[in-house]
Symmetry: C2
């Protein structure tokens, strides 16, 4: 299952994987430049929204969809109108003409997001698009919809900061200000610690393990991001758990646990319930790594997304796997094309 | 870790656990009666909502919170106003006077839900309560809020159908009809198949395994319910995954998987993407159990919740554990009391 090509010996294979992994690692290490680049992009077709927007829908899958989760966390503390996320083919019935619908898709071709985008166009919602190209940018240009084009030629997951900042920027241009930090603040934050070293240290702990990423509800987007990175890069099953919800069920699952688990807690300074969680898990004999997060939310989400990205690439390397290739996703896309869902 | 009391020998221990498990099993086997009982409850303080409700907030944790997930799934196909869920101490900023907020808590004492309930009272939202007693029922009586009291004296998780039907009923009494089936339809549905036998068969497959419950977005509440039941009853780590979102990340985690996993897919008839998922997982060498679900949504959710409840109790029994006791949750509640969060 682990062999990528029969012509290679195992040590040659590891060598090939190292080269591939090191190349791919650059797509994470260059995030300060990517943030800078994202900072210079100007939204196209910017305009004012019609009076009385009733709610915001964010449509996006996977790495693009996590942008929606971040927007949700920010909005729930700041906005007077609800934010709803869709990670599926179907738009909730309540989204109509009074709503702003934002499609986020790195490729601009994601079938679920495109299906939803066409549906909200039909429902005459106000629309914005974030993509690097594809049908969605074509559609936005054709219909003069507000859009941002993010730097192309990368993987969606390694483009996360660009997708996030572009979405926050287009929302701001439409009058919805979620209090984003300036690009230079984010870059400074990313450079403050050696994220490559942090990534190596985390990879050391998580190689051969099933990682469980735990956080508060607010930092769920980061826990989800970490899980998805270990899925896609390290080809490892992984799990998230959000607290306090997990105190009502998941925590009991660790009373008599088995399996090669290793826990990572993203804990805001002063969150005593997550401190209690850590003690409980340690008491149950689990390995626990805890990261202390400040309340500079967007910066922390981007920084730790970079760290888990790096860590998951290194784990792939150690396992003799190509971190970039995602065969099962390619198979799914082929299936969707073939069956014309 | 597995021993509950040093005075027992292992075989005595297993014997004690069997007795406890068999007692607890009754709380699942009596669901047809519980549904009937729930059918005869009449909401108190029923009234019409103020004109122009802007949205519905459902507040609840764990087994009570899953009611919110079911309401969300039903609403997204039926309602013209958004539904938002909270499983935390904090209410999103956008919930205000124009909203209907429903608190669901079996005990009526859940600290997170109670905190949110007090907050939405402060914000002058319209309010409804579903509980078996506790402070929330007191509050509802005192303030003449619409409420339903569900049958007391059970565990929250084994009260799921009562909590769900009570919530749907109180929403209906407030003019929000989610198309609930009549109680006799549900009872007939529950009795159509031998759910005890189904539970035994599933327990056979999942003992000693980390279960992964997979479903469409629509049936996510059921997958979540199954996971939580294995956490609480079987004391087993467990995981959910929702598709199509999982096709963009999680599916890759099974390309080079390891660990004692066993997959359960809840698949609606005609869902070809979940059929594709099954084939992909089988192709990766995983164990997969698939259940075919019809589109009679509420009935299926209740029926399969009963099956996974039974299965998780039987797994506890086989592991020599008391399915009813949840030590880590008790510890959390004690922590919350002590620290006065």
């Amino acid at each position: 299952m682990f062999l990528k090509c029969k012509a290679f010996s195992y040590s040659e294979l590891i060598g090939v994987c190292w080269v591939l992994a090191n190349q791919f690692l650059r797509e994470y290490l260059d995030w300060p430049q990517l943030v800078e680049e994202a900072g210079s992009i100007v939204p196209a077709n910017a305009r004012s929204l019609r009076e009385g927007v009733e709610g915001i829908l964010i449509m996006g899958m996977g790495g693009s969809g996590i942008v929606g989760d971040v927007v949700y966390s920010l909005s729930s503390e700041r906005l007077e109108i609800p934010v709803v996320l869709v990670k599926d083919f179907r738009v909730p019935r309540w989204v109509g003409r009074g709503w702003l619908a934002v499609a986020v898709s790195y490729s601009g071709e994601t079938i679920e997001t495109l299906t939803c985008l066409n549906e909200v166009i039909r429902r005459e919602a106000q629309i914005a698009v974030v993509a690097s190209g594809g049908k969605m940018i074509e559609l936005a240009e054709e219909r003069k919809l507000p859009y941002v084009r993010v730097p192309p030629g990368r993987t969606p997951r390694s483009s996360f900061p660009a997708l996030l900042l572009a979405t926050l920027k287009i929302l701001k241009s439409l009058g919805i200000d979620l209090g984003t930090p300036r690009e230079e603040q984010i870059i400074e934050f990313l450079k403050r610690e050696d994220t490559l070293k942090l990534g190596h240290e985390l990879a050391e702990k998580l190689t051969g393990k099933i990682p469980v990423f735990m956080s508060s509800t607010k930092y769920y987007p980061l826990a989800l991001r970490a899980k998805d990175e270990f899925n896609e890069n390290a080809k490892t099953p992984a799990k998230t758990e959000v607290y306090p919800e997990g105190f009502h069920n998941d925590i009991v699952g660790w009373e008599a646990w088995f399996g090669p688990f290793s826990m990572v807690i993203f804990k805001e300074v002063g969150n005593t319930t997550l401190e209690f969680l850590k003690e409980t898990l340690l008491g149950a004999g689990l390995e626990v790594t805890t990261y202390e997060l400040s309340n500079t939310y967007v910066e922390e989400v981007i920084k730790w997304s970079q760290v888990v990205g790096i860590a998951s690439v290194i784990v792939a390397k150690k396992r003799g796997l190509d971190p970039k290739e995602t065969k099962h996703i390619a198979k799914y896309k082929e299936f969707v094309r073939r069956t014309n869902i």
